[in-house]
């Protein structure tokens, strides 16, 4: 019973949880194996003609297409730019592929294109190639976008989860879960009286500020789908260490807390589109925090936890009452466990 697997794809396979992870590994990883892909990062790190580059791609499917703080166009630029930035690269060029559904509103398409242009300018990247297709009505969800991106790697690119050491400090550039809370509210028709916005933002400049301050992060990752918890779990699983996070230092907006309480969600598991989790050696923690806070996308940055020698492979949240809660990625969309 345990080993039985359905032969059809479920929505759970796209949740970003273990199901997604397993699907990608079993279907694609097994067939396409090569040393670069097996590296497993969000970006491929390549050497081309003596230059070291990062290369990545991402597809964007979001409902609604326009939401407080952004739209699918802004998301498509930020998503790819941020994957490059957290790989330690300076983002330079993007491709853009568009799949449109018959009957899609041209005004909305232009609005999305404007947004792509503004965001690319702000992120200091050029969209240098593209493709557009139209599918029959009913065979698409308005518009799907795909971007791929190339960036130049810095000499001191972060080493990944395995390079984290006990005592290292875990930082984040601002409150958790804004984007996820905005999307779920919009989809559920929940009125946000507070003006909560998605955190969607390109992070190339913020990462540059870190390097400019002399910080050499051991690990950086943008906590998008799967949330902060997903990145922390990846951090713990990828190395020989544990991760401990302090609930009281974890920044979360009251509005996000409110949405979470209403719908029974945890801000740690909500998606972000303008956040980065940074792990730095303890002696760089103060400089890193100052550099983050000095940048417009990091004013509410905080040190949220540490890498530990204890409980290797696990993420433990120290609760406000001194409890130690294990944080694990749900296999699919979470279902209640308590009675």
């Amino acid at each position: 019973m345990a080993e039985s697997r359905s032969r059809t794809i479920s929505l759970g396979h796209g949740s970003g949880g273990l199901l997604t992870h397993d699907l990608v590994h079993e279907v694609f990883g097994a067939r396409l194996a090569n040393p670069v892909l097996d590296g497993g990062g969000d970006s491929a790190l390549l050497e081309v003609g003596g230059a070291r580059i990062a290369f990545t791609t991402d597809s964007f499917v979001v409902s609604p297409l326009v939401f407080p703080g952004g739209d699918i166009g802004k998301l498509a630029v930020c998503g790819t730019v941020n994957d490059l930035a957290v790989a330690g690269a300076v983002p330079r060029f993007l491709s853009l592929a568009v799949v449109l559904e018959e009957g899609f509103d041209r005004d909305l398409l232009e609005r999305i294109a404007d947004s792509i242009a503004h965001t690319a300018a702000a992120a200091e990247v050029l969209v240098v190639t593209g493709d557009t297709k139209v599918v029959e009505k009913g065979k698409g969800d308005g518009v799907y976008l795909n971007t791929a991106g190339v960036g130049l790697l810095r000499p001191a690119a972060p080493g990944g989860a395995a390079s984290a050491r006990p005592g290292d400090v875990v930082l984040v550039n601002g409150p958790c879960g804004d984007h996820g809370a905005v999307i779920v509210s919009a989809r559920s028709g929940i009125e946000l009286s507070s003006g909560l916005q998605s955190d969607c933002a390109p992070l190339g400049g913020l990462v540059a500020a870190l390097y400019d301050a002399g910080v050499t992060p051991r690990f950086m990752r943008d906590p998008t789908r799967g949330g902060t918890a997903g990145v922390l779990a990846e951090l713990a699983r990828g190395g020989a260490c544990g991760v401990e996070v302090d609930e009281t230092s974890l920044p979360v907006r009251d509005e996000v807390r409110g949405v979470c309480e209403l719908l029974g969600m945890d801000p740690l598991f909500l998606a972000n589109e303008g956040k980065v989790i940074v792990v730095v050696p303890p002696e760089q923690a103060a400089a890193a925090l100052a550099a983050l806070r000095g940048h417009p996308h990091g004013t509410a940055a905080a040190a949220i936890g540490a890498i530990t020698a204890a409980h290797p492979g696990q993420v433990v949240l120290r609760t406000r009452y001194g409890g130690q809660r294990l944080i694990d990625m749900p296999v699919s969309d979470p279902l209640p466990r308590i009675c």
Binding site: E261, G264, G323, V331, S332, P334
Partner: protein
């Protein structure tokens, strides 16, 4: 003539050899007795009548702590032995031997404890072969002092003489000790600094009287103790432990003191005074000596009697604490009970005002067990100290299996042959220290049982930490079993049954075969095969787990499915913890068919009704609303049920779905017409009883099965357990109900283990 007896069971460390020695000597028989890996071998020689008398007395006169599973006798050739002797144990005496659980102080030791002439007068660690610590101090087998935490103490000549003399109660009593050579008590302040006291017990009592909260080292861990009569002190303990309303257990001096607190039946009195000395849930007397803060809003109270010499001293007639004491497991929030002195000083900082500690280490944590008497017999609610590691005898054996249990109230289970060793209460695995405790106990049980599991079996819920632990055991064959199937199998297992049955599996939450949450299930179970014959309608959980913590949300879900969501404004005043804006938003989300997770858990329907009746809109611990609803019911077996619909899931097909919509409307109309919440709660219970009886009858008609097995935490509800059992029995069913093992998820691992053995058979 000469006869050899091979005895198997719990026959080591319980005074079995001295008993054999005394019996043989009394009958004038020669021969010997010795321990080995499979139990005890006895040979007796003498005249035939005496040998027969010996054989006849072996079982009935065996020591109270022993449990004889099997005696095989064979006549052998005379050897001319005139005297009887206790021979040395055979080497490697381990494999099939059973470790005794911890045992409350026996009457003999208690007499000596309070006898000024005895050399152990007021010695807090007095014990003998009939009582004292066992499971919690044993690191490995064979059960000898060097393998226990008593190895740190060398016996004085007087103790050694007792230990060597088969005529004493302390012959081979491994924890034997006295004030000259054994463990000592010490009192420490809140920071762990010694507080010199000639009599640490008297000093501790003085502090308790003054309203202090003390950490007291016990058998399986620390307790937090305070005066149960002082509301302010108990409230302070709640504040420090971050424990809102979950009841605290109370310890009192004797049965007379229990009777002042609560109504006690004969069966309950026997349970309270049994050698296991569990916490027994009793009907609380209004105006009794314990304050309401002990169990806020609860008509029951958990009571236990002293079980260690230290408890007896703390509550002694002369110089002891005069009233009931709160005695709750010492742990910050829901973590495992604190075991070591250093751990206590660190983890209980800010909780305890002082520490009453000693230097006999606890090797294995074990919380107090909790039972209640329902449908005429004691039933486990939390099976732990005093009962673990006594095995449950299974209907069949097989290769060694490790079952990892559920997520909350976790226990694990290891099998050896037909014996299933269910672990002590481990707890809620979302806590990192509890998850570590699971691994610690799994390793410990494997060591003391001397077995390596070949199979690991787990729940279907992919996100249970226990499931993940099992999936990491890639060295073992892995099996999974559906939650409610395991509940039913647990009940069959403890009754030693293998026949196909109708299973009523009723609880709050369990992962179903269709990847939704189940919990109101009528199953047809035939070994490893299971089919859903009927189930309660899945209600949306508005806010996922948040709807489990806030029963008013379930009331909203029930209103929604009953087409009565317009009642929200009328009901809001009954829900002090519901914010009107949140409730209205959720009502709208339900109306728009928001994809909330859904659950058929009967526990959720109890939550919904508890909130509809204004009895409980917030749950600060598991099952609180359901418990409050049961206690509020003005129960009478003749009370009329509300209407409820049974609708096939597909036309003419199975499973049948129990739709509570009509019941909800009738209940609201009943309230409008002036019914009290107590009356409506009773009618709700009657509805559930009638529904389940009808479903059992229909399933019998379809399958010809007349055996019914009950499982799931809902059966801690006495009205349901007693009435459903009685009605089904009266209608010709044979009903099996959980007793030795909790009906709740604390018994799940047993059912999982049994499933694995059935799969492999």
């Amino acid at each position: 003539m000469r006869r050899r007896f091979e005895v198997a069971g719990i026959v080591q460390g319980v005074g079995f050899r001295p008993f054999v020695y005394r019996l043989a000597t009394r009958l004038g028989l020669g021969g010997h007795v010795f321990n080995h890996e499979a139990g005890v071998t006895i040979e007796v020689e003498g005249d035939a009548a005496a040998v027969d008398a010996f054989a006849a007395a072996l079982r009935p006169e065996a020591p109270p702590l022993s449990r004889i599973d099997e005696v095989r006798a064979v006549d052998v050739a005379d050897a001319g032995e005139r005297a009887f002797r206790i021979a040395p144990s055979a080497a490697h005496a381990r494999a099939a031997t059973l470790i005794s659980p911890d045992v409350a102080v026996c009457d003999d030791c208690r007499r000596e404890l309070f006898d000024p002439a005895d050399r152990r007068h007021r010695y807090p660690f007095i014990n003998c072969v009939n009582c004292g610590p066992r499971y919690t101090i044993i690191a490995d087998l064979p059960y000898d002092r060097p393998k226990t935490t008593m190895r740190a103490f060398t016996m004085c000549p007087a103790c050694q003489a007792e230990y060597d003399d088969p005529r004493t109660r302390r012959f081979h009593a491994q924890p034997n000790a006295c004030p000259a050579c054994g463990p000592r008590l010490a009192l420490e302040d809140a920071a762990g600094r010694p507080l010199p006291a000639a009599d640490p017990v008297a000093a501790a009592v003085a502090r308790l009287v003054a309203g202090a909260i003390l950490a007291v080292k016990g058998l399986g861990g620390f307790h937090l103790a305070c005066d149960a009569a002082l509301a302010a002190v108990v409230a302070e303990l709640r504040r420090r432990k971050h424990r809102d309303e979950k009841p605290f257990a109370v310890m009192v001096r004797d049965l007379e003191a229990v009777a002042a607190l609560a109504a006690v039946s004969d069966a309950e009195a026997r349970l309270l005074t049994s050698p296991e000395r569990p916490i027994v849930l009793l009907a609380r007397r209004a105006g009794g000596p314990s304050c309401d803060e002990v169990a806020p809003g609860n008509r029951r109270v958990g009571v236990m009697l002293p079980y260690t010499p230290l408890h007896h001293l703390l509550l002694a007639d002369a110089g002891g604490f005069p009233g009931p004491l709160v005695m709750t497991s010492a742990n910050p929030s829901d973590e495992p009970i604190v075991r070591d002195n250093d751990e206590a000083r660190w983890r209980l900082r800010g909780i305890a005002d002082a520490f009453l500690v000693h230097d006999r280490d606890i090797l294995v944590r074990a919380d107090d067990s909790v039972l209640h008497v329902a449908a005429g017999m004691p039933r486990q609610v939390r099976r732990s100290r005093g009962f673990v590691p006594v095995p449950v005898r299974l209907p069949r054996g097989g290769p060694p299996v490790l079952a990892v249990g559920g997520e909350l109230k976790n226990t694990i289970c290891l099998t050896r042959g037909r014996d299933a060793f269910l672990s002590q209460h481990i707890g809620d695995l979302e806590n990192a220290p509890t998850a570590a405790f699971l691994e610690e106990i799994a390793a410990h049980l494997q060591r003391v049982l001397d077995l390596r599991p070949e199979v690991v079996v787990h729940d279907l819920h992919p996100d249970y930490h226990a499931t993940r632990y099992a999936l990491h055991r890639t060295d073992l064959t892995r099996l999974a079993v559906q939650h409610h199937h395991a509940h039913v199998l647990a009940c069959l297992a403890e009754h030693g049954r293998e026949a196909p049955c109708i299973g009523l599996a009723l609880d709050g939450t369990g992962y179903g075969l269709d990847d939704t949450i189940w919990g109101g299930e009528v199953l047809v179970v035939d070994g490893t095969a299971m089919q859903r014959a009927a189930h309660f309608r899945a209600l949306p959980l508005p806010g996922g787990e948040q709807a489990i913590r806030e029963p008013w949300r379930m009331a909203l879900a029930l209103l929604h499915v009953a087409g009565a969501a317009d009642r929200l404004e009328q009901l809001l005043p009954r829900w002090p913890h519901a914010e009107a804006r949140t409730a209205r938003t959720l009502r709208d989300l339900l109306a728009r068919a928001h994809p909330f997770p859904r659950s058929s858990g009967l526990g959720r329907l109890f939550d919904a009704v508890a909130a509809l009746l204004g009895i409980r809109d917030l749950a600060t611990f598991e099952g609180q609303a359901a418990m409050a609803l049961e206690q509020a019911a003005a129960w009478d077996p003749a009370v009329p049920p509300y209407p409820i619909d049974l609708v096939p899931a597909a036309p003419g097909g199975t499973p049948l779905v129990v739709d509570p919509a009509a019941m909800a409307r009738a209940l609201l109309d009943d309230l409008d017409a002036g019914a009290t919440p107590a009356r409506a709660a009773a009618r709700f219970h009657a509805t559930i009883v009638a529904t389940l009886v009808t479903l059992a009858q229909r399933t019998r008609a379809d399958t010809s099965l007349r055996l019914v097995a009950l499982g799931g935490g809902v059966f801690q509800n006495r009205i349901l357990l007693e009435t459903i059992s009685a009605r089904l029995t009266a209608d010709g069913f044979e009903v099996l109900a959980p007793a030795q093992v909790p009906a709740n998820d604390g018994g799940l691992a047993l059912g999982q283990a049994y499933f694995a053995l059935l799969s492999l058979g």
